[in-house]
Symmetry: C2
Subunit: 236 residues, 2 copies
């Protein structure tokens, strides 16, 4: 029987052996949600890059460029990071270079540590992701991008949602996995509410995140796409 482990922060990833494993990168607010929306809209490929300057260079290479700081689109960029912007039908067939500090770091670390496959998970593709995972028959690591490397609620509760759906077919001997399932199962019927719980926290005030974005990113099964890292690119 294959196993599921949950990692609450990229800082903890070096403690895990990823060789031959399937890693799901989770950054619910908002990179992994927005990337799922982009592929549902018909985007061709997404290049995750860490910094704004690096991202900007790709403007010259047939990429649209997406970046935000403090929840505001960076001037001179084509797109910010809100999922709503990626619903624009004009994006179909385009390539997008996308800045996401935590998400890019998590993807690169998973690759360097020998993961066999790396995919993107969000509530928006939960069922499709779980079907995909079941089909692979690999040990699974659910990697939460977190908030500046700290534990965050929305990524953890999503990890719990995945582990809960897969619990029949996988062993869960990992304490972080048991706790994530527990968190999810106590809040499954009010996801947006538990995620908004942190809106009292500085983090959400700093981010100026719109309630709309939180509600949107808490939706289940908006898409059947499961973005996957192929070389440097995310594709479906």
């Amino acid at each position: 029987m294959k196993s599921i482990e949950v990692v609450y922060s990229p800082k903890l990833l070096p403690l895990y052996d990823l060789n031959g494993k399937l890693v799901v990168v989770i950054d619910i607010l908002r990179a992994s949600s927005t990337i799922c929306v982009a592929f549902e809209t018909g985007v061709n490929k997404v290049l995750p890059v860490a910094g704004i300057d690096e991202c900007y260079m790709f403007k010259d290479f047939d990429f649209l460029i997406a970046a935000e700081r403090n929840a505001v689109k960076v001037p001179t960029f084509d797109l910010g990071n809100s999922p709503f912007e990626f619903q624009n039908p004009l994006l179909a067939g385009k390539n997008i270079a996308f800045t996401t500090t935590n998400g890019t770091k998590a993807l690169k670390m998973a690759k360097m540590q020998g993961a066999k496959e790396i995919v993107i998970g969000s509530f928006l593709n939960l069922s499709a992701l779980c079907k995909h995972i079941e089909a692979q028959q690999l040990d699974v690591v659910l990697l939460c991008a977190g908030w500046k490397d700290k534990y965050n609620l929305e990524d953890s509760i999503f990890a719990g949602a995945v582990a809960s759906q897969l619990s029949e077919q996988f062993t869960k001997t990992d304490d972080a996995c048991i706790a994530a399932i527990d968190l999810y199962e106590h809040h499954a019927d009010k996801l947006a509410e538990i995620i908004r719980k942190s809106s009292h926290a500085n983090r959400f005030q700093l981010l100026h995140l719109h309630t709309d974005d939180v509600a949107f990113c808490s939706q289940l099964d908006y898409t059947q796409k499961v973005p996957k890292l192929l070389g440097e690119y995310l594709v479906v």
Copy 2:
């Protein structure tokens, strides 16, 4: 209003500013529980040391020495690490050098990062600890020693117990703290059971931990002592 934060692993501690804060070091199975028992028995002071060799040196300096590997007392040492051994009345007034890899590391890191006060918490001194924290009027960091730097259930649920008891008087803007409270409040009436949940996991099988130890370490308020780091020593 003062704040409470929860840190699930010493690996994450460098992300936190500890200056002027009160840090509670938590290693429920079993170092922080056993240390609380030692002081209830009347031990004079405890010197936490990282390794067995280092610990052994203190045999020549009027210390009893305590060490275990794989839940078995190391031969030539006076004591192992089971809380039951530290109930022996002959220990009253003695000094003990105590090996605890995770616990010592957590204590030393908290000190290096500028914590104002460092104390030991376990279910065995929960109420006394909470009273002590309230009296200090400092920002609080609950530091879980974890299992080889990974998240573990018993330390996290204890952090939730402390944060839950103090929730009226402190702000909890930290996601890890919110999740720990949630975990604790859903399992407060069956602590030993949720802690034993991980007994299905490799960790407990590797440790050969006795059910007795788990049940003992899940008891509330066995003692009113709150061990505190003073220089290199834990004292009450």
